[in-house]
Symmetry: C2
Subunit: 257 residues, 2 copies
């Protein structure tokens, strides 16, 4: 089986024009089949503020009402996605932007309103590989934003880390899939202040212990849950670290086992 790399970039890379351009320049040079998944960064909140729309949070998580879904669709699928595609074309990487609705690729269920109504948020139900695979076979790189749909015409806001892991799992029947989460740290850190304190290999027992000790907390928990979900569902390799890990094998990072 051929290898397919699924690479997710997060907030800090998206929010910084130079960091994004530098990443995309490198990404364009990666050989073989690849899929890029991007988050939204702070641009959606900025647009909501410009439009005087309140950002509603419950338990620290954003509620996606109809106006918020419009903003997310405009920012993620419009501004961010199309600018990434245009940049990749300028680096001779032929790409096509995707939401989960395009090619009917990622189908979600709207999250149940009980106990908390998160609004138009989708939990991934299934991945259809067919349309994307036609493009991969044609040497085209799909670029996914974090939006899915319910097959009844409704777009849904979906976590970008989850999109990346579900794509890696879905494509594992056709490719040896490798999943890379790129963010601003070197991976899982024993001391969040010390970028050299990387846990280079982590398995579910180490994860459990680090969780119990409170070393791993907050945003790293759902990210690592996505990692372990992927590695236990036929994804060949899962790594977390800075984008540099893609281009230099000596860059420290965390590998999930």
């Amino acid at each position: 089986m051929e290898t397919l790399k699924i690479i997710k970039i997060g907030g800090n890379v998206i929010d910084n024009v130079e960091a994004l351009e530098s990443f995309l320049k490198g990404f364009a040079t990666i050989q073989g089949s690849k899929i890029l998944v991007h988050g939204g960064g702070k641009l959606a909140t900025k647009l909501a503020n410009q439009m005087n729309l309140p950002v509603k949070m419950t338990n620290g998580r954003r509620i996606t009402d109809a106006n918020t879904l419009d903003i997310i669709t405009m920012v993620y699928a419009g501004k961010i996605n199309k600018n990434i595609v245009a940049k990749l074309q300028s680096y001779q990487c032929n790409s096509v932007g995707f939401s989960g609705a395009d090619g009917n690729t990622i189908v979600s269920n709207k999250r149940p309103v009980d106990p908390i109504d998160f609004g138009y948020v989708g939990d991934v139900k299934l991945v259809n590989t067919e349309t994307v695979d036609i493009l991969l076979k044609g040497n085209v790189t799909p670029v996914f934003c974090a939006i899915t749909h319910d097959e009844n015409g409704q777009l849904l806001n979906t976590n970008a880390d989850t999109i990346a892991s579900e794509l890696a799992i879905g494509f594992s029947k056709l490719y040896k899939t490798q999943l890379y989460y790129c963010f601003e740290k070197n991976g899982v850190l024993l001391d969040i202040e010390n970028d050299d304190s990387v846990v280079e290999n982590i398995d579910s027992e180490i994860y459990k212990a680090l969780k119990e000790d409170g070393v791993i907390a907050d945003g790293m928990l759902p990210k690592l849950d996505n990692c372990f979900h992927a590695i236990s569902h036929n994804v060949e390799k899962v790594c977390i670290g800075k984008p540099e890990m893609l281009f230099d094998e000596n860059t420290k990072h965390t590998t999930i086992q």
Copy 2:
């Protein structure tokens, strides 16, 4: 050669939720290869107003500064395009949203700033059919918004009628292309107040005479220029009329000859 229908829908269909849904339901049933091109309607101006951004016009035409380009990209490629794709999926029409940057499909030159600086507006230079054709062959329907790029990473605002005619011309080397401009009237009218006064067939001589008499004016002039450009560049058939002309051959419309 197989037939490829390129169908463009304009402002009044986009702005009305029911009209759009009804159109898409019909569009989904059209057999054979097809491409949808959509304009932006009034939503971009509405968003600019919500964000307190001034709409700058020169000689009745919109100037696309950087903020306006962002708005257009968000509204056209984000909100409108992804909602159309999600609706088409719900009608079992497998579609993928495109800007001209996706698949490097439509490359434009930024319009010269002399005599008038229109800002980030693109004049189409060339159409690359390859990526879109991979999808057409896979029975997938591309849905184009009116944005192109310059191959150097810059997105450009481009007239939707022009996108449709340039796609029809570009694909004429692979398909018998048929171009349909759908709007709120039955076609070219001798009396703009009378929807029965349709000019059913129009050639360049009739066009010239109607222009000189002032019967054809304003927005119809660039639309018809696009039509004649297409019909003189290997497009098999060009029609203007209401969307109903696609589904009922007895619907009055104008055919370009």
